[in-house]
Amino acid sequence: MNDKMVFGQYYPINSWVHRLDPRAKLLSVLILMISVFLIDSIYILLGFLGILFIIVISTRIPIGKFINSFKMMSFVLVLTFIIQILFRKDGDLLITFNFQLTYFSLMIIVVTLLLWLLVSKYIKYFKLLIFLIVLGGLMALQYYTNIWGHIVSYHIDIYSRGLVMGSYVVLRLLGVLVISSLLTFSTKPTELNNGLDRLLSPLKKIGIKISILSMMISIALRFIPTLSLEADKILKAQASRGADFKEGSLKQRIGQIVALIVPMFIISYKRAYDLADAMEARGYIPDNDRTSIYVLKYRFSDVLTLLFDFLVLGLTIFLKVAYAI
């Protein structure tokens, strides 16, 4: 649990992506994301995802890690797909589904949804998939049956454009997910912070002091595990006095959460106060220049990576323009 909080998603191996300069990685992510959003042909998008897949394989980060992050986003993916299909009304009309809502089907829908609310807690795997199948079943019920008191009939039209746009959005989101996961799997939060700090430091010239922000991030990274250990201790202390955070009425639960937050707040305040003293005593002055123990240097592989990124970006822009004509 603790390592998770210190390193976030970081997967500790030594691949070529891990060895890249964090600045190069951040820039790559930016450029590749722009490319993903510029591409407007399904085939090119698929090709792009293919290249990403090859890169992923070459890092030897287990594919399972990526699938896990898809799972977390799967609800959003499915939802956007459904919304696109329901609301896009251009292109060719592919198919029309006629549904009849009757008292019979309404009753079954209500019962099923209630059942789902009760049961869903115990479903561990493929929750979304099972839900979609149940939903499909309910729609099929309305499609095939027309008994017991007709209430309303409605129809859903599926247009070709909706299907295409739906796939676009989903594939794009997949691309974005792979790119950002690749970054977080291969870069420690501290490295990321350093990279961002160095990358954005020229903003100082227009009066934006990124160094204070990155110091804040690094302090947060330092104290998140400490504070969560502390919260854990308080939780255990309160549990040993009979508090239960999972049961009880809403009011009781709110009371228990307050009983956690108040001591946490006081402890953090005391810590912050002490820490500020310690930092000041060690010569930290917020606006001043500082050197860094982490020297970042672009190496040949970083340059190569950035060249590749720009190549991809250039190609997508070229194809976009060429297709438009």
Partner: protein, 279 residues
Amino acid sequence: MLKYCKLNGDYMSIIELENVTYKYNKKNIALDNVSLRIEKGQFVCILGHNGSGKSTLAKIIVGLLEAQSGKTIIDGTVLNEETIDKVRLKLGIIFQNPDNQFVGVTVKDDIAFGLENRLIECEEMLRRIDKYSEMVNMKEFLDKNPENLSGGQKQRVAIAGVLACEPEIIIFDEATSMLDPKGVKEVNEAIRKLKGNRTIIYITHNLNEALDSDRVIVMNKGKIVLDGTCEEVFSQKEILKESSLDILDHMKLIEMIEKEGLNRGKEIENILWQSTYLK
């Protein structure tokens, strides 16, 4: 009251406080007209019970608090808004709570923190980190996170972080009070190595820890009540008791034996056990 030594003006002390008074609020006077001179290279121990104003004194010296009246002079420079940043380079302080002064995400980052503030180049930084982490026996932990360290180890990292900045004055504000006996021993070993090289102010409420210092200062209610060598201070049993400080274990023994001979063998044994355990 004992005075450590009267100095004539031409000899410059590294720390001078002149009539310093500090109040956190109207009622509470944490430092009451304190004057103090500390010479370069001394190991000075400040004793006092809870709330006697030791930490306040330390914070005044390192410029974290500004006195309402009086003057603080460090190495010939009067502390004020303009001079503080420069004077601070000569000062280092280690606080009580090992967790709340660990700034870096790893040991290495933490030792580097003060160096980064001082604009020291990377190579020199690495050299110093190497040197001082070795000195406090933390070299093999350089890449560890603070969660994986004991309190004593964290305090030694804090010491390395201060040493790396090579300050002339180092203050330990009850640096060992939150540690277990093993941690206390480790940290004290690291501190002993510094004796003689740096001006050190060691704040504690444990008399036994003051035994090998050059000079002992006792505080009570924001005032300095005793000031002198170990022997001089520890013989003032009355004032020590008034300041709510327990007299030394071996003093207790001598006192007891003087009064009643060796009749109370059991108690003597207990005291001996305690004092050996503490060391």
